[in-house]
């Protein structure tokens, strides 16, 4: 992989010593940029990076230099954060022409520069073509995936270079901080937050304004802590925010610090997010160099020092008291104390802990007013929410929509529907603590919000959204999540440690075809028990995946236990594959693909699967063009 020294040297810049200096510096930065300059924004988020985006970035830079362009303004190749259309990476956007190229290779760079930048022509094979459509979409803003979103928190993600604070400032970063430092009293900041009705984006949905207020009321030294320990399987909202726009998070924390009277902040990031740690540390250094963080910020006398602290990969450290223990250097286990962390948290001092996304919302609220924010979304869940849309959906990626958007809109309009002509079966929200929402039944038009999701037995959580098609076995899904939680439970309290272990045992038994009568009732008994007797948030929501799947897919459990049958074709002991003779054309693809040589038959004659040889790898099932292979 090509390594690029990402951070520009800013030590030469003078410190901004007055609040007015920021606006002046911003104007100077904007003036330096030519308005007509072509900007090539290469996505270097974690997903695209894994697909070789850094090589593409280097190749683009080289291609632009090699082309020896005879134009007034040289195109600017920029490394940016996540463009959010992760299933199409590596990708880039060309502004202001509004072009979106996807699935690129480094070798395509020269062609892009020659054809598009110099020649001004589009290259159709790099354009995005929606599944089933005949023609590709030419403009980035017309692609439904982008057009159907409302980007508030993610506004700068994918537009700015996360390693260059100048870019962020040109886009308006730290304006909110200047506003609170010059125009607002801490009390007014908290009032504004209360008006905005912003609720914590980590999952519990506690109103941020109220939390700040109760923290500010406490005596003693205050701490501002940012929870970036995003551990849900299939969630990458916080990662993309920290990687794409670290300054939004830092600015939000600084505003919170001003409001509650703190001078010290910590960002707790999981070690598995090396890029986020890099961008944040770099952003802090650059902001301190410019006098936007650290001692005497912008000459106003307000101090705020932030450090990045990395976790060691324990899921439970996303729980607030475990996070604080871990931050103190102790074992990351939740504290058995009935006391709010706003009263006694980190080092037994009042601490305000919010999620990455919550902090990133704050500058926007300050700049545009709480009423503006409250006007988005629904009455009880204001604003927008970032979701990571994954699973069996065409457009996998990061999306931001106003609260109250229907699941239909998310899955079909933004997500582009289910691949391979499959039926949508369920949507899992909220990670391991959430639940599965059965779709075909009645919930496709449900509006996503804190209250609504809780009503139907799931939670909003931090925003993971896994789409599941008909080939998903709900028993296996709940076994997977319970297994994850058994591994990640801290082991302190009996219900979580022992209860989950027993539940995993029962679920494994069912998926192996050894289920017994009464297993469902037993799961329900242990599940409701762990949910009400456990110590921390992990334990009290741990049984949700099981309880919600039993609630909506009880017949599937019963099939597993009584009929020894897995209709989705996932639990290997509980199904077999069969070729339907009337649908089979005898093309021989299955025979060629089968690694176990279990398919027999002559060309153009219906084939047969020998059950004694079949290893149920599903290779034939996936590759049959005529849907002739059935799960029995």
């Amino acid at each position: 992989m090509t390594s690029i020294s990402p951070a520009p040297d800013l030590s030469w810049t003078r410190k901004l010593s007055r609040p007015e200096d920021l606006a002046a510096y911003r104007n100077q930065l904007i003036a330096e940029q030519h308005p007509d300059a072509t900007r090539i924004l290469v996505c270097c988020g974690t997903g695209c990076k894994a697909l070789g985006a850094l090589d593409l970035l280097a190749a683009m830079k080289k291609a632009v230099t090699d082309a020896n362009l005879d134009v007034k303004v040289a195109p600017l190749v920029k490394r940016t954060g996540c463009h959010s259309f992760c299933s199409r990476g590596p990708l880039l956007a060309i502004q202001p022409q509004d072009i979106f190229y996807q699935k690129l290779k480094p070798s395509d760079a020269a062609e892009i520069v020659q054809e598009t930048i110099i020649g001004g022509k589009l290259i159709p094979r790099f354009l995005y073509k929606p599944p089933g459509a005949k023609h590709p979409i030419e403009k980035r803003s017309e692609i439904p995936f982008f057009a159907a979103q409302t980007r508030v928190v993610l506004e700068r993600v994918g537009q700015i270079d996360p390693f260059d604070i100048r870019d962020a400032i040109a886009w308006g970063a730290y304006n909110g901080l200047v506003k609170v430092l010059t125009e607002m009293k801490p009390k007014e900041v908290i009032e504004e937050m209360k008006i905005s009705k912003l609720r914590g984006r980590g999952g519990a949905g506690f109103p941020a304004g109220l939390k700040w207020e109760s923290c500010a009321r406490q005596p003693g030294r205050h701490y501002v802590i940012c929870n970036g320990d995003e551990g849900d399987p299939g969630a990458f909202m916080d990662a993309s925010l920290m990687e794409g726009d670290p300054h939004a998070v830092l600015e939000g924390m600084a505003i919170a610090a001003y409001a509650i009277g703190s001078d010290r902040g910590f960002i707790y990031v999981r070690m598995e997010y090396p890029l986020a740690v890099q961008t944040l540390s770099n952003a802090i250094r650059q902001a301190e160099d410019l006098g936007l963080l650290g001692q005497n910020i912008l000459g106003t006398g307000f101090n705020f020092k932030v450090s990045v602290s990395t976790g060691a990969g324990a899921f439970v450290c996303g729980e607030s008291s475990a996070l604080m223990s871990s931050l103190e250097g102790k074992v990351g286990r939740p504290r058995p104390k009935y006391i709010r962390s706003t009263e006694k948290g980190f080092r037994d001092s009042p601490s305000n802990l919010n999620n990455v996304e919550t902090y990133a919302n704050v500058p926007k609220i300050i700049l545009n007013g709480g009423a503006w924010y409250a006007s988005m979304g629904t009455e009880r869940s204001a604003g927008t929410k970032v979701f990571s849309l994954t699973g069996n959906v065409n457009n996998v990626g990061l999306i931001e929509v106003p609260m109250g958007t229907s699941l239909r809109h998310i899955v079909y309009d933004i997500g582009g529907g289910i691949p391979n002509r499959k039926e949508l079966k369920a949507v899992q929200t909220g990670g391991p603590s959430g639940g599965c929402i059965p779709i075909p039944k009645k919930f496709l038009d449900i509006n996503v919000g804190f209250g609504k999701l809780a009503e139907i037995g799931s939670i909003m959580g931090s925003g993971g959204m896994i789409v599941m098609d008909e080939n998903t076995c709900m028993v296996e899904v709940s076994r997977y999540f319970i297994h994850f939680l058994v591994e990640e439970s801290c082991g302190q309290c009996t219900p979580c440690r022992e209860g989950l272990t027993q539940m995993e045992r029962i679920l494994t038994r069912i998926t192996r075809g050894e289920g017994q009568e009464g297993d469902i009732e037993l799961l329900e008994e242990i599940g409701t028990f762990t949910n009400s007797f456990s110590l921390c948030g992990l334990g009290t929501s741990a049984a949700n995946p099981v309880l919600s799947t039993i609630r909506y897919f009880r017949e599937e459990y019963e099939e597993h236990i009584r009929d020894k049958k897995c209709r989705a074709g996932v639990c290997k002991a509980l199904y077999y594959l069969e070729i339907q003779p009337d649908a089979c054309t005898g093309c021989g693809v299955c025979k060629k693909r089968c690694p176990a040589k279990a398919v027999t038959g002559e060309k153009k004659e219906p084939h047969l699967i020998r059950q004694d040889l079949c290893i149920k790898c599903m290779e034939c099932y996936r590759n049959c063009k005529f849907d002739a292979i059935a799960i029995r």
Partner: protein, 270 residues
């Protein structure tokens, strides 16, 4: 502050835990992981009670819930009994044949063999680790996570900074910890394996081993009495008593004995 527990009003001080108030008022709440004097850990969850504060009812663990306002508490509802039963049944997978679980199981109608048994002999109450920290030795700790959580020494090593006080063995509700004195050394035995090994003093008189050779300074510091001279005995308590008795005899009785003897002798002469 008006506290109603199981239907009757009880006296309680601000900040007292529900468990303390219940004990003081003769109301039984079961517990497996709490003893007065140690910081509550709320690990076993069997002391969970139903609490109504500000018209909101929820389940809380009584050992660590401080009462700070009017509250109504129920300590023995069907829901709690069901939960406790399940806790006992689940803990019984770790060690089904322990007296403490049998007694509680009888009380709450638990079937100790409902779930398949595991090969563990400890119910993970964490008392040993907490008492060890409290006495200042810090030898035992809870390590690992999830089902794998165990009581162990640092990195599972055989440690030498144990003070051999035996508090862990004494506090363990399921007798999973043993203290063994053998060949001049004292060891804490966890699950059949030696966890610590410290030298015992050898009596200069009788040659038998007695109390451990330890550095008491950190313990005394923790107890708030730094500077108390360390214990330097070289004679075992039994020999020490014997020697002391002998000294008393020599010093106080033998002179008289002699006098009496001479008196008696003189009397005989007459």
């Amino acid at each position: 502050m008006k506290i109603i527990m199981d239907g009757k009003e009880v006296a309680a001080e601000y900040g007292q835990t529900i468990f303390e108030v219940a004990r003081k008022n003769g109301i039984y709440i079961p517990t497996l992981c709490h003893v007065p004097g140690l910081e509550p850990a709320a690990m076993c969850r069997i002391c969970t009670v139903e609490l109504t504060e500000n018209r909101r009812t929820r389940l809380v663990t009584s050992c660590n819930y401080p009462l700070r306002q009017d509250a109504e508490i129920h300590t023995d509802t069907p829901r709690l009994r069901d939960g406790r039963k399940l806790i006992i049944e689940l803990l019984a997978t770790r060690c089904p044949d322990r007296q403490v679980l049998k007694e509680l199981g009888e009380r709450y109608g638990a079937d100790l063999h409902r779930f398949p048994a595991d090969d563990k002999d400890c119910i993970m109450c964490g008392l040993c680790a907490r008492v060890c920290e409290r006495v200042g030795a810090n030898v035992l700790t809870l390590s690992g996570r999830g089902v794998e959580i165990t009581v162990s020494t640092f990195m599972g090593r055989v440690v030498s900074h144990c003070i051999g006080c035996g508090a862990c063995a004494q506090i363990c509700p399921v007798n999973a910890i043993r203290i063994e004195d053998r060949d001049g050394y004292r060891s804490v035995i966890l699950k059949g394996k030696e966890a610590s090994r410290i030298l015992l003093r050898t009596c200069t008189t009788c040659g038998r081993s007695f109390g451990p050779v330890i550095d008491l300074a950190p313990v005394l510091e923790r107890a708030g009495e730094p500077g108390v001279p360390a214990f330097h005995a070289s004679v075992c308590p039994a020999c020490s008593r014997r020697n002391h008795a002998k000294r008393i005899l020599e010093r106080h009785f033998e002179p008289y004995d002699a006098a009496i003897q001479s008196f008696v002798d003189e009397g005989r002469r007459f």
